[in-house]
Structures are given as C-alpha cells and as structure tokens.
C-alpha cells in the first residue's frame, strides 16, 4: 500500500494545486520519504521536457509534406498562386470597371456575361467554384471507382453531412467473411441480421474506440471486430445476446472513432 495519493503528488509536481493545499501537502511529504521520492521523480520527469527543443521538420521536409498532401487531396498548386497574387479591392474595381467599359463598347450586350472575380480564393480546377465539400461528396458517391475518377459526378453526389446512411466506404468496398459491401449501411444491416461473422471473429484484445463504443452501446463488455478495406479500417463493436444473436452494434472509424453506422 502506498502511503501517499499519487494523484495529489502528480498535481503538486505539475504545480496545479492551490497554494494552501500545496503547502499542506509539502509539510506532510517532508516526513514521508516514499512520498518525497515520488514527488522528486514526478518533478524530474516533467523537468526533462524543459531541457529539449521539440523535434522539428526541416523546411524541405515541410514543403514535401504539404506538396504530397495537396497532391493526395487533389489541391491544385495554381490555387496558391491565385491566393498569393490577390489584388487589392481598388485594383479589382478598376479592372472590373475597365472590363465593363470595354465590353460595352466592343461587344454586343447579349454576349456580356459580367466580370470574373479576380480575387477568388476558390481552389482552381476544371470547375473553379467546385468546393472540397462537393468534390468529397462526388468522390464518395462513386461506388467501387477510383477517387481520382470523380469528375463530372458532382450533381449525383449524396450529401454526407447529417445522413450517414448513404455513406460509402472510402475504397468503394469492404469485405467481411467473403462478402463485399459498398456502403457502411449495407454492412451494418447484414451484420445485424446475420451476426455469425461477428461472433466468430470477435477479438478480445481489440481496444480502439472502446470508450466511445461503451458509451454508445451502454455495455462495457461489448466485443469488437476489426474490418479493413484497402484504404481504411473500421471497427464493429457489438453486444452479444447469446451464441447466435446480438443486441446492438456500432461501426466506428478506427482512426477517430467517428460513428459510421449504428443498429438498431
């Protein structure tokens, strides 16, 4: 048995106790070698980090990182150029006014479509007004297709915010027990009505997102199965009723524990 409260010792070492409590604790610790040793250890461990600079990326590494991410997200480099060349409003107004005058003089009015906003910070691309939100929806609306091939499908995209039931798996499919599913909703429906695959594959060592799953399912003894598609990993947390049935299930993204589907 410890002769001291570790939480209080840690708080004292961190300097988060009020002065009165800290002074009282220090007086008590002065006569307790075990507590004094622990306090010294906690303080030393905290002090270690004051002696080192945080790890830094080099400028080249940072540039490469941003370029790789921008490429993966299909953010076109020319978009940055547009932003950095942003004009002042007065210049914009002058250019727009000159354009209007020139158009009025040189072109028939029926052909005039108005000046384009030179200060736009929208991402460049085939459709300059296509937002990332729309592009993401378009990407995820394509079942089984490569994300890069999402051009021209924005009008068919299902909304992702709010109703997750139509959300597809990022890779277009996910496989469980030989069956392939193209939406988390289909997967949840099938697993809920035919839970054999879940019950057979439950991994007692799986711990990711346990706290969230316990909160949602209301049962700390829930079991889990990891599901992988080529590009992402999800976890099905479920509560078994008996050897053949389950009570509830929730599918979560293993990286951020976002709920993808829930049954019932």
């Amino acid at each position: 048995m410890r002769s001291y409260d570790p939480e209080l010792i840690a708080a004292l070492a961190e300097g988060t106790l009020d002065s009165e409590t800290a002074a009282a604790l220090e007086r008590r610790i002065a006569s307790d070698p075990d507590a004094a040793a622990e306090l010294a250890a906690q303080k030393a461990a905290i002090a270690v980090w004051r002696e080192v600079e945080p790890p830094l990326m080099t400028t080249a590494e940072s540039a490469r990182l941003r370029a790789n991410i921008a490429e993966a997200l299909n953010l076109h480099p020319e978009a940055s150029v547009v932003i950095h060349r942003r004009r002042t409003p007065w210049t914009t107004i002058a250019v727009a006014a000159a354009t209007v005058v020139a158009a009025a003089v040189l072109l028939p009015l029926t052909l005039f479509s108005g000046p384009k906003d030179a200060t736009s910070t929208r991402l460049a691309g085939d459709g300059a007004d296509t937002s990332v939100r729309e592009e993401t929806q378009a990407d995820e609306a394509l079942l089984g297709a490569a994300p890069d091939g999402a051009e021209g499908t924005a009008t068919e995209a299902a909304p992702l915010n709010g109703d997750l039931s139509e959300q597809t798996t990022a890779a277009g499919w996910v496989s469980v027990g030989g069956e392939q599913y193209t939406t988390w909703s289909d997967l949840a429906d099938d697993l809920y009505s035919n839970p054999e695959a879940l019950l057979e594959r439950a991994d007692p060592d799986l711990d990711a997102c346990r706290a969230d799953a316990t909160r949602i399912l209301g049962d700390p003894s829930a079991l889990a199965v990891q599901i992988e598609s080529p590009s992402e990993t999800a976890i099905v947390w479920f509560t078994p009723l008996d050897d053949a049935r389950i009570d509830r299930l929730v599918i979560v993204d293993s990286l951020d524990c976002t709920v993808l589907e829930q049954r019932p």
Partner: protein, 193 residues
Amino acid sequence: MIDRAREDADLVERYLDGDAAAFDALMRAHESRVFAICLRTLRDREAALDATQETFITVFRKADRFAGRSAFSTWLYRVAVNTCHDTARRLHRTQADSLPENADPADLAATDEFASADMRPTIESALAGLPEEFRSAVVLCDAEGLALQTAAEILDVPVGTVKSRLFRGRRMLVNALGNLRPSSNPPMDERNA
C-alpha cells in the same frame, strides 16, 4: 486556446468551401506538433513523416465529419496518435527496439548543443522503452503540454486513466534516464514488486 479552436473551426469551414489558403493555414498551425507526436511515438524520422502525412490526408478527407464537437486539434491529434499506433503495429516495432540511427530529430533550429546532441537521444531512448499507452500519455501531457482532459479525449480513455498512465509513465521515464538517485526507502509497492 479557445481562440485557436475557433480559428481552426473557421478554417475547416473555409477549407470545405474550397479555400486553399485555409489548407495552408491549418497545416502551418498544426504540422509541427503532429510531427513531434509522431516522431516521439514512432522513433523513426521517415515513419514519422509518413504518419504525419497520412494523418493530415485522413483529416482533410474527412473534414466534413468535423462538427466542432471537440476542438479540431483534439480530433487531429487523436487521428495522429491512432495512425502512429497503427503504423507501429504494422512495422512490428516494439517498445524494446533500439533507437534507429535516424531517430534523432533534425536540429537545424536547435542552438543548445547539450540538449540537442546529448540529452535528446537519451530522452528519446528512454521514452522508447515505455509501453505504448504510458508513452502516449507522457508525450501528450508532458512533452506536448496538453491538458489531461484533452489527452483523455485524444486517447479515448477517462481522465483518471490518463493520470494513472502519466504518473507511472513519468516514474518509468525517470528510472530509465537514471536521473533520480535511488531512494533509500522506495515506495512499498515497488519493494514488493
């Protein structure tokens, strides 16, 4: 902190609306810390850079899921920690591995020769010896200075669990560093261990 959270939420909205400058701003604000978390978790520079990249790609691709329920940074670091743990498992790296040659972080900006040349590899080596869950608590709370509540949200465990892991992780770290003189009367639970 609240201002940062508000600014991040605004940047995410702007990014979703197609504002390329918002992407740059979010990267600038968070890439260093994400990289630091990854390097201290994985102990391998290239693996840490890869994990940092994977983290940001995941977060930006799923940015429309961010509903402001928690701070953007909490969500981002949560993805970073989980990505690093997945990477570590994939690479079959155990905490007992020796420090790879390229694990010493770049020191282009460091001026303290003692800290950069001697202390850091020792600390990183000691940190590497900690079990994953204790290392994560120490990295997030002590190395990165995040609040216990934030670390709890990132690690998806109760605050009490973070406190416990942090307490024990610090003790393990100090023991590994050998910075603490052996107590003549160590705690009872250690004497009986």
